[in-house]
């Protein structure tokens, strides 16, 4: 990859933690990358390391900018990580969307097949799939509070709990983010999904990226 392409998007340099890495990656803006591999291969650990949730060696750059020069709170708004299990700190959904633009929220919820009334739901009474969709919506809407769109999306099995119809809607929304220029790194166990989304596939095994292939 030339220097020019590394300027735009996400670049990882020597990311190392426990059994993971060292991992060097260049993910161009607008590109979707599917991270595949067996359980325990280090997929989630890699996403956490990029989001700077765990101390790790190595460094990450966004559009050529060094992560160490960006405040962590800012970094996580630009590099949006949506974990497989979404966390909720209030009994209601609405407080999790504080500060978000009303229209944006409505649009994103709609794109995921949810009504605005979903904000009135109790966290304790919703299904895994609903939590997953709301978690994705929350992350996207939050990233758009002080930017037009998220720059990097790290998605950990974003559709694993969804039925086919909702999965298709979520995929469409993710594709749209890529079209808007977001760099997307997505953990999935579903090769067909990677193919459907036109993703470049990275295979990770025992903490190392073994092969990379372009989906047909």
């Amino acid at each position: 990859m030339t220097n020019q392409t590394t300027q735009s998007g996400l670049r990882l340099k020597g990311i190392t933690r426990l059994g993971l890495g060292p991992i060097d990656l260049n993910l161009a803006s607008g590109q979707i990358t599917a991270l595949m591999g067996p359980s325990g291969a280090g997929k989630t650990m890699l996403l956490r390391a990029i989001a700077d949730l765990d101390p790790a060696q190595g460094n990450a750059f966004i559009n050529g900018q060094d992560r160490n020069e960006i405040a962590p709170t800012r970094w996580r708004k630009r590099v949006v990580y949506v974990p497989a299990i979404t966390g909720w700190w209030d009994e209601k959904i609405r407080p999790h969307f504080v500060g978000a633009d009303k229209n944006t929220t409505k649009q994103i919820l709609h794109a995921l097949g949810l009504e605005s009334t979903a904000l009135d739901w109790d966290v304790a009474h919703i299904s895994t799939g609903e939590k997953q969709r709301l978690g994705l919506a929350r992350a996207l809407v939050n990233a758009m509070i002080d930017a037009t769109a998220p720059e990097v999306l790290l998605l950990d099995e974003p559709t694993s709990g969804l039925d086919e119809q909702n999965r298709d809607m979520a995929e469409k929304l993710i594709l749209k983010q890529a079209q808007n220029g977001a760099t997307i790194l997505m953990v999935t166990h579903d090769r067909a999904q990677a193919v459907r989304m036109g993703a470049k596939i990275l295979n990770i095994n025992s903490g190392k990226i073994s092969t990379s292939e372009v989906a047909p």
Binding site: L53, D54, P72, R74, R76, V80, V82, G87, W89
Partner: protein, 265 residues
Amino acid sequence: MTGVYIALSYFDLIIVSTLLLLAGMISIWQRLGVERALGIAALRTVIQLVLIGYVLKILFAMTSPLWTAIAAVIMVALAGREATARQQTRLNGGWSYAIATSSLMMGATLVTAVALVAVIRPEPWFDPRFALPLLGMMLGNTLNGVAVGMERLISTIKREKIAIEARLLLGHSRVDAMRDYVRESSRAGLMHIINAMSAAGIISLPGMMTGQILAGVSPTEAVKYQIMIMFLLAGATAIGVLLATTLTARRLSDERERLRLDRMN
């Protein structure tokens, strides 16, 4: 003083020790299996109290600032140990002890010093006859709050890891992400002293007041002292608990706004 102080003789103590024997006999009779523990505990009571009696007698006689300070330091160090001894999950590398001890020192020592200098004003201000029992009372209560507060915070943070990280992932700072839990555990740490103040005089006659009354002080005078003690305890506990929970939350996160559960066992 309005009453007469009645000193106890060693013979009086022998009379009450028959009650200890009674407790032991009940244990044997009912097969409670605690007669040995009872005996050891009773022996510890006697030895520890007799020893501290002599130590205090010497310290009081010397009225030395240095030796008073040394005694205070030992008391704080032991209280820190006591505050962390029964915590199920502790911070690695002695951090639990360090945080508990420094919080106790700030809470109990500061409040004791203020009480001595500004309220009781003994001559000299560090007079061990006032300073050490007062510090002891402050430490005993503050360590309770510090222990409860730290224990609650550590277990809550462990339980709410996913929720805390969800906030961090949305770009919240570690302070924002943990504020609710720090608040909740601080409240838990303060519950003890709030309960004690609420129950004082209705459900229980506080030990110090009882002691003063037994020593011949008029109840209305003893009450004044007790009210002062209660307020001092509230202040010391509040400072200690807030410091302990804030420092614990800081230790369980880092400057990159990350949750650091790897820093506890």
